[in-house]
């Protein structure tokens, strides 16, 4: 973590004040209508940007543990001095909301939410082999999420500034950890001139949880830059 420059933000408390202002000005907009055909299916959904669907367990069950995975291929080595390779650093973050107010965030500077229910497996600064494995992951134990938190939004940012067009084999996905099944998957590379994506959210429905894939492209270095773009999805 120490390798990252000081420009990275510290804690969620640093953002909440400007955020409140944004929250007050927000307009209500529903996050795209759920596709009725997809509802209830448990197949892995390879989605394009902007598509939003709701996913439920078959038989009305609820999700208990989900993992957000993010993978991308490391930049190719350049020239004689490999250290000058322009590394690609994508970051996965999860923002926890209580009634549309951000209360906690899990990202590379705060790897475990204060309550312990959301865990980041650690910052990856360069990417991986691009073979489909997760290079960063966030695990959410939905049964342990504090009662007042009703939405968790997952985002992806390009910390080093490359747009998704410049990243090879990048994807993010949501996996049901209880059975390893992929609930949603986005292919990020070649995905336009964006540096961030508001990927998906899980939210409380009744006594359980549901996931809505958002796939909203955005721009920003860290999750804080995305806050204005996240709010319409709450």
């Amino acid at each position: 973590m120490c390798c990252k420059t000081d420009t990275k933000p510290d804690r969620v408390s640093a953002v909440s004040v400007p955020l409140r202002r944004v929250l007050d000005n927000r307009t209500h907009r529903t996050a795209g209508a759920g596709n009725a055909n997809e509802r209830g299916k448990r197949v892995s959904v390879n989605m394009t940007k902007g598509q939003a669907i709701s996913l439920e367990k078959r038989g009305g069950g609820s999700l208990t543990q989900v993992r957000m995975g993010l993978g991308w291929q490391a930049a190719p080595r350049r020239g004689l001095f490999g250290s000058r390779t322009r590394e690609i650093d994508l970051d996965a973050s999860a923002v926890l909301f209580a009634e549309k107010q951000p209360v906690d965030v899990v990202f590379f500077r705060h790897l475990v939410s204060d309550d312990g229910s959301v865990k980041h497996t650690g910052d990856n600064l360069v990417g991986g082999a691009g073979q489909g494995g997760d290079d960063e992951a966030i695990l959410v134990d939905l049964e342990r999420v504090p009662v007042h938190i009703d939405q968790i939004v997952f985002t992806v940012n390009s910390f080093t500034g490359q747009t998704f067009q410049e990243v090879q084999n990048a994807f993010c996905r949501i996996v049901d950890e209880t059975n390893g099944q992929e609930l949603a998957r986005y292919t990020l590379d070649g995905g336009g001139n964006y540096t961030a994506q508001i990927m998906a959210k899980v939210h409380r429905v009744g006594s359980g949880w549901q996931m809505t894939a958002l796939g909203n492209p955005a721009n920003g270095r860290t999750f804080q830059d995305l806050m204005p773009a996240i709010l319409p999805h709450l």
Binding site: V112, D114, D115, G116, S117, P146, V147, H148
Partner: protein, 667 residues
């Protein structure tokens, strides 16, 4: 997905054509017993072993080898068969599994993917065992990790399966253990299995002998390395009964399914779990259902000592985070209530219409509802942690145990130091009776300071000053005794500074038992002790920096040193204070530690000069006080000093043993 099974755990089998891979690291015979619905094996012909024609659906490899592959086709089994037990028997001179690396068995699907794996740990004198059981439950097949060993060997195993004349049969089977074609990982495959079970997995012999190699390394090496280190501390929690594993004695008895959640089995046989019969009786054969039953030592680690240490820290973190979830929910509920009440106030129409009170009541009801839900979750988590604490606390070895724990009565000077010592208890206001042991790593990273001042503590306010000082010194003596008791004979030396002799009564247990030399008196004594320790730190530092640790003078005491300073700054001149600060800063890396018993206001004359000293020490209090923060969320935790049971002679008894062991070593 590979399921790592623990003893007693079961796992569904998605396939019917299976291969069972055995890696024992030593020649063993592998076989299978086919049982009916009641679990009885009808006769010798239902035992698949190398010396007989295999029953349909099962194929066992011939001879004894370290690695085996058994092919099983569950569909091809006779309909009466409801249970297939995989048996292993030692051959080739070895008489007990306990002397070997833990055998590893894996159930592999037809495509070569591992469905479930099980490292059979905790074995001792057994020479034959039932490794796995495949069983039919309501039409579906499952695998269960058994690890049921038999000290009586294969004959005892077969007798337990309900066979007649087990000894003859066992002799016949063992006779087949003639030198087998060297490493025989893949046995001959029957026609009905060859298509799916093995050939598709890895047809070439080179590949097939290569595949099982990494498995024992990956799965069994960390928890089960048969070196004596894990074994020794695991007996430490309760040195009473000899550690005979339950598995070895249960010949013919029902199978012991205790501790289904245990990640590593050695602790299962360790007597640490002895005092928790409640935990053992509860789980049934379907251990995954219902809330998990807490088990002492249910954490990662190479030894019981390390597992308990990690478990205690795990409980500490869980309690911190659970409380954080509850508090943040309550804070949120309160702030929402404030906001909503504000809105009600600014709403003129409501104020006029009398809907005001209703809106306020509704806002309060919303607050109460959220707090109530948060409380319910907190209570659930606390109940789980309390149950865990009830199991863990009696299993703690002396270094981690409370002073009233019975393990202190069986105290013996340890052969090696534990990972940590308990310096008190921690709790949160949400549940004051849930005490988390405060375990501090050894060697100490910084000195200790037992604060005899009044501080901000509420409890200290009720005591007069003299009483507080007496308590502080008692606490310091208890901490020192625990540190002495945790170290091997002669591994820890305590020096005392008591310039005015006012602490003689409290220090008596240390001095009279011979565990520490009499305290240094007067200014001269203080200087002498400090000079001696400063020289020692200098010497060790020079040796360490110069990389010449073997060039130290031969007479040098290699023990760690603890200096208890009472009545500070009485008897200290400026030079002595400087030396003390030097010791606090430079001592810990070379094993020289401070234990200050002091009130900060006594040393007020020194001004800010001593601030770095106080900051560098871990502050403990002689009375409960909430001054410690956890590293995760930063709650203020109430610290409680360790209390000796009133009138107990345990302190002197332990210190006497420590002193006797040191003299014995020196003599």
């Amino acid at each position: 997905m590979t399921a790592e099974l623990v003893r007693g755990q079961n796992h569904p089998l998605p396939e019917t054509r299976l291969e069972i891979r055995v890696s024992a690291g030593h020649p063993v015979l592998a076989g299978a017993a086919l049982g009916d619905e009641q679990g009885r094996v009808a006769g010798a012909e239902w035992i698949a072993h190398p010396g007989a024609a295999s029953p349909p659906g099962v194929d066992v490899p011939g001879g004894a080898a370290a690695d085996h592959r058994l092919a099983v086709d569950l569909d091809a089994l006779p309909g009466a068969v409801h249970r297939v037990s995989v048996l292993l028997a030692l051959t080739g001179g070895a008489v007990r599994f306990g002397a070997l690396a833990a055998p590893f068995v894996a159930v592999v699907g037809p495509d070569g993917t591992e469905i479930a794996g099980y490292a059979i740990t905790g074995l001792d004198t057994e020479s034959a065992l039932v490794a796995l059981e495949l069983y039919r439950r309501q039409g579906a097949w499952k695998v269960r990790a058994m690890g049921q060993g038999y000290a009586g060997g294969l004959a005892a195993l077969l007798a337990d399966q309900g066979l007649e004349r087990p000894a003859d049969l066992a002799a016949a089977i063992l006779a087949t253990a003639s030198p087998a074609p060297a490493p025989a990982p893949a046995g001959p495959v029957p026609a009905d299995l060859s298509s799916a079970a093995v050939s598709s997995a890895d047809p070439s012999p080179a590949a097939s002998s290569r595949v099982p190699e990494p498995e024992p390394v990956r799965h069994t090496a960390p928890p089960t390395a048969p070196d004596p280190a894990p074994a020794a501390p695991s007996t430490a929690p309760d040195p009473g009964p000899a550690p005979t594993p339950a598995t070895g004695t249960a010949i013919g008895g029902p199978i012991d399914y205790s501790h289904p959640r245990r990640r590593t089995a050695p602790a299962e046989s360790a007597p640490a779990a002895g005092p928790v019969p409640a935990a053992e009786s509860a789980p049934g054969p379907e251990p995954r259902q219902g809330p998990p039953v807490p088990v002492a030592g249910d954490a990662t680690g190479w030894s019981m000592d390390e597992r308990l240490y990690n478990q205690v820290w795990g409980m500490f973190e869980d309690l911190a985070r659970t409380a954080a979830a509850y508090r943040s929910a309550c804070d949120f509920a309160e702030s929402r209530l404030d906001r909503e009440l504000d809105e009600v106030l600014t709403d003129y129409r409501a104020r006029a219409g009398g809907a005001n009170d209703a809106a306020r009541a509704a806002a309060r009801a919303r607050r109460d509802e959220l707090v109530e839900r948060a409380r319910a979750v907190l209570d659930r988590d606390l109940a789980q942690l309390v149950a865990e604490s009830e199991v863990v606390e009696p299993a703690l070895p002396v270094a981690y145990a409370r002073w009233d724990s019975p393990v202190w009565h069986a105290y013996r000077v340890p052969a090696e130091e534990p990972m940590a010592v308990r310096l008190g208890d921690l709790h949160l206001p949400e549940r004051t009776d849930l005490r988390i042991p405060m375990l501090v790593r050894l060697p100490l990273e910084r000195g200790l300071w037992v604060d005899s001042g009044r501080g901000h503590s509420e409890a200290a306010g009720f005591l007069d000053e003299a009483e507080l000082r007496r308590l502080a010194l008692d606490c310091a003596v208890a901490h020192a005794a625990r540190l002495l008791a945790a170290h091997p004979a002669g591994g820890f030396t305590v020096h005392l500074i008591d310039p005015a002799g006012t602490g003689a009564t409290a220090l008596a247990p240390l001095v009279e038992t011979g565990a520490a030399a009499p305290p240094a008196r007067g200014a001269a004594g203080v200087s002498a002790v400090l000079e001696q320790l400063t020289e020692r730190v200098d010497l060790l530092q020079m040796a360490l920096r110069g990389g010449a640790a073997d060039a130290l003078p031969p007479g040098l005491d290699t023990a760690r040193q603890l200096l208890i300073v009472h009545d500070f700054p009485h008897g200290f001149d400026d030079r002595a204070v400087a030396r003390l600060r030097y010791l606090a800063d430079e001592g810990p890396p070379v094993g020289v530690h401070l234990l200050m018993v002091a009130a900060r206001e006594d040393a007020a004359a020194y001004g800010p000069l001593l601030d770095p000293l106080w900051r560098s020490l871990l502050r403990l209090t002689p009375v409960p006080d909430d001054h410690l923060a956890d590293p995760w969320v930063g709650h203020a935790w109430s610290y409680e000093p360790p209390l000796l049971p009133p009138g107990s002679g345990i302190l002197r008894q332990v210190l006497g043993q420590v002193a006797a062991a040191r003299h014995g070593k020196r003599a």
